[in-house]
Amino acid sequence: MSDASKNKQKTKKANGWEEAGCEFYQENYCADWDGFAKNPIAITTLLPSKQNRLGTTKRNYTHQDRKQKICWQQFSSTAPRTYQQNEGQFSLLPDLSQIINDEEHIWEEMFQIKQLPLSMHQKKEFKLDLQSATKLRLQGFNQLKWKHRKAWQKIALEWSKFNAAIKLWQSSLKNIEGHFGSGVAAYFTFLRWLFYLNCVTFLIIIIFVIIPNILTYQNFVDRCKLAQNLNRSKNCPSEDNERNTYFDLNRGSFDVLDIVQGTGILEVSLMFYGGYSNKTIGITFEDDNNSTQNENSYQIYYDLSSAYIFAVLGYFATTLIFIVKASAREFKDRLINGRWQFYQYCNLAFGSWDFCIHNEKSSIIKHKAVFNELKSSIHSKRIETERNNRSNDYMLKVIMIRIVINFLVFIALILSAYVIYLLFNISLKRDHGKFSNVDYGEENPFDSVNASRSSSLQLFELFFDFAPYICIVCLNLIMPVFFKYLCNFEKYSPLFVIKISLIRMIFLRLASLFILLSRFYYIVIPNSEKNSRSTSYNCWETFVGQQFYKLVLTDFVSHLFVTFCFNFPRAILAIYFNNNIVKFACEQEFELSKHALDIVYLQTICWIGSFYMPFLPGLVLGIMFLMFYVKKFQCLVNSKPTKILYGTSRSNSLFMSVLLISFVVSVIVLTYAFAEVSPSESCGSFRGLNTVWDAPLSSFMRMPIFFKNFVFFFGTPGFVIPCFFVLTLLLYYFYAVSDANKNMVEVLKNQLVLEGHDKKFLLTRLLLTHQDTQE
């Protein structure tokens, strides 16, 4: 009752101001019946949909609402709200009692003030009013629950503040955004996300693999001197292979070259696979010391080999979860929008201007970019109709050209693969006794050369050692330029050009990686047809790890070199000389696809190599940190703002799809390695076993019998077949539900159009009637 009377007074006082029943807000529209006479079009502001949106209705809690406990929920636009209209309209709320809210709901309402579209002044008033409103105190258990919620809320707030505070590189991102827009900034956000991912996975490896191994590390050579048994020839380096893989105690010197190549002291350390033990650490509860004897008498044991493999598996699982979570939204949008429109023009109109740009020059370029995009989308629509009318001859010619160019590209890929293959062979042949008994059947002339070699010879060695990797890196730089040149002849649409050049670059990188891996395979598996004295490497996993190490280092150094010593002078030339030719050669743009591939390539090598070199994720972590600054330099200093409009959603889906492809490739490679290749016999966590899986399998066999039976149950037909049927049914159910929803959406859309027509009709009739009555 009191509310209605208050309303009466206020509407009498404020002529021309609307009072929607809630004392806090005032509308600028004259929307009572008098005002309607002055401005008939303003009747639309009386509509409930408008009132609901502007927050002019106050939500009164009923008993049902109290059951809902979502604190941060926004006001949904069609939530059932009871509202008090001003006089003259039907009041839906009985004025029997004013509902007094209890503390908890007042507290909830406070958080929802933030989400109202009001000015600060009005929000403050609202808050004051809420605070001074009469509240019911909560009793007993409810009070406890509320306090609990408050505490959790506070913790969540502190956590989000902490997260925001430790976010890396915020100022750099802001700088890049301001100059280049959010599309390019999305690349750096992606880089930061990969950095965090690597942090987490490296942490997993440190905790589960490296620390236990550090605790039980024994010097490799001492271990060999102690073991005087028959296994000596297998587990330890024999005397004639003194100069090969293992650290020679007699030499004692610490060579800088060893760090770069991963040989020498690094080889037997925990950096590579070879340094890890296959023991089991046990903790006994009978007496109080830790010891590393055999596990039979202990209650808890920690199998280092199983830990190694499970750490790697956990690493991949975590990565998969992160990737899926990050790309889920893109896929969800794609799936939902499947049959619908793409909102291309609305996206251009409403989402193309980055509000974060603060540079004059970039804004001019951005204007031009938006203009170009608008023009080209209109024209492509026209061209598409034109394209369907293209003459047959022209189409035939274009198709012939495309076939020829694809063939050329294929030839180029094969050639580059062959070059890498050759170089790798040469590098291994020249390897001076480092890896003896390579199955090339050649007598190695440098076998007997001992301690002191001249430095030029060492450099020569180094060059041939790194030759295949330098070649891979050079090809990765040169071939994309060649492909881009070829693309000009193919006459695809611009969007398709980007896609196809990306696919070709991915093929190039994967091809080089595959060649490398296949060479490793043939070296590692001894070729029994060749001479009998050739055995494989004593510790091939360490060898593989070293190759990956070299590849990563070469890649990083090449990036440094290209950015600072090649692109930077080009940029300087482009600034100081106004010549057209110079500008053509020297002006660079920050091409997102190429740089995204760089990072993803690094990450792929990290994933594949992590099994053979556990410290590789850590190394890649450090490299990524530096890469951020290298890429930032390339972006801010060397490049000028791009003329192509890069939207963030397009960039993000590009990065995620490339990352997913690489992830799948690395998983396939590692699975093959686990399944087919047997571990080496003399080093590492899995020495002497047939496959890598034997280690966790044997530790599983030692578990208590009920646990084993429980796990075996999952493999029996009694479980699998019903499970299979249930899953199929669930799949069908979800598919049916989603299909029904899609149909429902179509129906509702049509209904909405009809309602809109109805509304327009009624409004025009109202206007006409009003005009008629006026006359």
Binding site: Q341, Y345, S362, H367, V753, H757
Partner: protein
Amino acid sequence: MGQTKSQFSDEELQDYEDLTFFSKKEILLAHKKFKSLAPEKVGHNKNAKLSMSKILQYPELRVNPFGDRICKVFSSSEDGDMTFEDFLDMMNVFSDACPKKLKAEYAFRIWDFDGDDMLGVSDLKQVIERLCGSENKLDDCDMKEIIHCILAEADFDDDGALSFPEFEHVTDKSRDFLNSFRIRL
């Protein structure tokens, strides 16, 4: 830091923190940026009202084609002059933590040039013109076609203009909006 903190009482800071998506540190940072636009005036009165031309000196707003509309929408006196509270409101809406619905609401108000609570053909025309910039002009028939395409995509009830629910739906689906409608503090 001590000097700026003494300008705001703890209670006021707590108020601002409760009513926006910022933390206390960010609010003080916002005040610092506001002060840098007109140091003496804000030094006297921490909630001073600055004229639109001064506000438009802020780097992101200066190059923004909708700068004047932004000022008008957020100004409490509707003429483009903003106090610090208005400025805080503005940065609040443009911040990362702001929910989609609030951003869509204010974006709608910014782009509603004639103030009739709908994005009609004239509104859309002005939006596109401003986006392309003063040097690049689209021909009439191109412009008509673009507007026609936009309405075909977004106007569900077929009344020739975009109402707010339609606008909200469209910006929800096009994810670029959320990422581009943002100014970092």
